[in-house]
């Protein structure tokens, strides 16, 4: 049986048609069947999840009204802390580490009653765009097992695309949820910076990171974001906004919709099919949604990649300094002094991409270079923010392809970090500006690999983004499509 949408599953549990335990068992069975091939999960926690599912069923039996999404199994990227479970960040440096505390989003998920099925693979410390930088496992794209699922939240994307769970959480620092959503045919939503608490998310780029949902359709993504959003006294950077309600108005379409196409993100370096698909999407917005389309030029887009790799690596170099072997994780024994221990622990504990970024970031913050790099990057960031603001004076939303290419072969780009960095050009500006953006499935290339459309809005415009994304999804019907091989298995 195929997974239905999370909201549909939840409705059936609430109505007593199915039990949360049976749903969870299906999920665990799907993992057992598929994950040897896919490699989405780093750890599976069936027992605790079963207890959580049983608690939901007990509530249904007692006639209680369940919180939103109760009973829907969920997978969590392994850089988000869950009490009693390992947090590996897909790194050797955290070998053996079990978290003693819950991230704020996990508290919310547990309170609502979503059984946590397991922790998913990622690029080590969320640094990468293919999940190939995981020190622990290879994750394959359910649409083509020779291809990457994207990254860094590749495990969470593959878990949903492979129909092992209906929902998952990733983290998005420069596109780490939207790009794998695009490559795996899913919906991935990066909210406004500060909408979701980062407490308990292992920091990569503190001023860029946001925990973000993956789902099979827009409504499910909206429901999950609604559940995890809100001010958190434990995260000073969260916004003091009301708890959002996206579902009530989800089916409404804004009138006189004005959509902008970012000139700098249309054309150059794109796979021809992606360009073609994007042209179709523009036409769809015009003809089916009645939107007016205009081209917006933003000179701040090109410098964004350089600015991003300075800001993100600078913050990462500082955030990852705590992995020193003193208090937790792996400590490498040496005969030298404590600094020798630091060197050996960190040199052996971190993989090459993490090491590269720590060194880059350390260099950028070094005395004498700060202004030339970090200072300049902050100015580029401010300029980009201003240009987005100006753009939103002319249009309601902006669109562009999420990724310039569809999923590439495992190993294809691994030796070329620069081309990997450049492939994030459409997603990075969103994090630098702190604005929300969604990626929704927009079609398939010749080999049947999914493509994605990115919709960007001004700060706290999640509601409008969801409405438009929902309208497009209804026209295309690309949501909840299963990879052909999987659809066959399911049909049998």
């Amino acid at each position: 049986m195929a997974f239905q949408g999370a909201l549909e599953i939840h409705r059936q549990i609430q109505e007593g048609k199915i039990t949360a335990v049976s749903v969870l068992k299906q999920s665990l069975q799907a993992i057992a069947q598929q994950d040897l091939d896919i490699g989405a999960f780093l750890s599976v926690h069936g027992e605790t999840a079963l207890a959580e599912a049983a608690a939901v069923d007990a509530k249904v039996s007692a006639g209680e009204t369940l919180p939103l999404l109760a009973g829907v199994p969920i997978a969590i990227k392994d850089n988000i802390n869950v009490t009693g479970m390992p947090t590996t960040c897909a790194s050797n440096i955290l070998t053996g580490y079990i978290s003693p505390y819950n991230a704020t989003v996990i508290e919310k998920i547990k309170t609502a009653g979503l059984p946590i099925v397991g922790k998913t693979n990622l690029d080590e410390f969320a640094m990468g765009s293919s999940t190939e930088n995981s020190a622990l496992k290879v994750t394959r794209n359910p649409w083509n097992h020779h291809c990457v699922p994207g990254g860094s939240s590749g495990g969470s994307a593959a878990a949903v695309a492979g129909a092992m769970v209906p929902l998952s959480l990733g983290s998005d620092t420069g596109g780490s949820v939207r790009q794998p959503a695009s490559l795996c045919g899913l919906v991935g939503m990066k909210p406004t910076y500060g909408l979701v608490s980062r407490y308990g998310l292992v920091a990569f780029g503190s001023s860029l990171d946001q925990i973000s949902p993956f789902a099979g359709d827009v409504a499910d993504a909206a429901a999950l974001l609604q559940l995890i959003a809100g001010f958190d006294p434990l995260d000073s950077t969260t916004l003091k906004t009301e708890t959002p309600d996206y579902l009530t108005t989800l089916e409404q379409l804004p009138s006189n919709l004005r959509i902008g196409v970012i000139q700098e993100l249309n054309g150059e370096g794109m796979q021809p099919e992606v360009a073609e698909n994007f042209a179709q999407m523009i036409e769809l917005c015009q003809k089916q949604l009645g939107a007016s389309i205009q081209t917006i030029s933003m000179s701040g887009i090109q410098p964004a990649i350089a600015a991003y790799y300075i800001v993100a690596t600078a913050e990462a170099s500082s955030n990852l300094a705590r992995f020193d072997g003193v208090r937790y994780g792996q400590r490498k024994k040496t005969t030298g002094d404590v600094h020798a221990m630091y060197r050996k622990t960190r040199a052996e504990g971190f993989g090459p991409e993490v090491t590269r970024r720590i060194m880059l970031g350390t260099f950028c913050l070094s005395s004498g270079y700060y202004d030339a790099y970090y200072g300049k990057a902050q100015r580029a960031r401010a300029l980009l923010r201003k240009q987005f603001q100006e753009a939103y004076g002319q249009v309601d939303l902006l669109i562009c392809p999420t990724s310039p290419t569809t999923a590439f072969k495992i190993g294809e780009k691994a030796s070329d970090p620069l081309s990997m960095y450049l492939s994030d050009i459409a997603t990075i500006p969103v994090n630098l500006a702190g604005i929300p953006a969604i990626s929704i499935p927009s079609g398939f290339d010749k080999s049947g690999l999914p493509m994605g459309l990115q919709i960007l809005g001004p700060r706290l415009s999640e509601n409008k983004i969801f409405q438009v994304a929902r309208a497009i999804e209804q026209v295309t019907g690309y949501h909840h499509l299963l990879p052909p091989a999987l659809a066959q298995t399911v049909a049998q």
């Binding site: 802390n81 308990g200 404590v338």
Partner: protein
Amino acid sequence: MTAVLSQTQYETVVGLEVHVQLKTASKLFCACANHFGDKPNQNTCPVCLALPGVLPVLNEQALNFAVRLGLALNCQIASRSKFDRKQYFYPDLPKAYQISQFDQPVCENGYLMLSNGKKVRILRAHMEEDAGKLVHSGADGLAGSDYSLVDLNRAGTPLVEIVSLPDISSGEEAQEYMTQIRNIVRYLDVCDGNLEEGSMRCDANVSIRPVGQIELGVKTEVKNMNSFKAVRRAVESEVERQIQLVESGQRVVQESRLWNDATGTTITMRSKEEAHDYRYFPEPDLRPLTLDPAWVESIRKELPQLPAQRLEKLTKTFGLSEYDAGILVEFKELGDFFEATAAICQNYKAITNWLMGDITAALKTEKWTLDQTKLTPQALAELINLVDATTISNAIAKKLLPELISAGGSPEALVKEKGMAQVSDEAAIRAMIQPILDANPQQLTDYRAGKDKLFGFFVGQVMKASQGAVNPEMLNQILKAMLAGP
């Protein structure tokens, strides 16, 4: 301080960096108790252990304390401030960075006035978190130890670092500057002000230059002074050392030096002295601070009386000597008691004498603080009034004090109850003297024959018989007359 060895006269130039540990209920960025003396790592949580994924949240009380301190140090309070990360690896620093303030401290441009009239300018006072503690086995430090244990109870304790400009010109001024800051933090009730226990710490940047030279000399940073006297001695010793070096044709090297109180010298710290690059950058986990001027004003209005204000009041309004006033300022409890008593008793000198004499002595013996006793300003005022009205003698008053301290009560009532009132009635005194004269005929004869010294004998006998309750002046007068004969 100046010293002359050769022809050159040298001038001492000192700037102090003072760390003040704020006695907030919880730590600077987490809810852990800000408390010492507990089991190692008892007061820790995911945040101050720097577990993966945690975030800091600023303690509002700590910000309030820092602003209070800044105002008391005559600083400007920034309307916008921010926190930065100061990065270095050390096992007592769990995040491998200290959240501090780099270029936008909460307080700037203050000053303190020394008693010699000199103004010591304060460059800045910024907030930061303390590190944990290391316990080494088999060595004094991390280097060479068999193993070292990490206690993070102190990690995250709020600190204010007060940085002065190099306006201090002697060890004595350095000591006074520190003492003033200690008094201020105690008056504000933001810190224990205890150098010995480390709730206040001080690093001195010391250099010398020939008198008249404008350019500053090479400075050394002297650490590890655990008392106010040590601050003075360390500065003086380091200045001596620098002068010796220069006089012998050598150079002062910029370095950190450790004060050794036992030997009275500073020694170079064996750190490798690699130039530290702390790679400061703005703390992305905390929003920049916006300090509402109205809020700052409300704190200013609620500031208690400060040491400088008390000193002026004690000397100008109450006419106390600089010395007496200084002691009453330094020991805030005594000062508070003085002011409360002075409000109801005008004999300020007597209040001072009582407080600094018998009362302090009694407290010392019993190891009490004033508020642990039953003595009240009302009682002290009454006691002084009884002496001034010659109802009791000073000797009787001193006898009453222990009971007032341990059991409390009203001196007037006690005097009545115990019949200790001083006898000032002439007839009564005569009636007391006569039996003494009758009982000692030989001594009386000897006195009348010219043995003047026996006068003291008769005074003693009367005092003994009356248990000291006779007005001493009247006794002298009447006794003299009666001894002289009818």
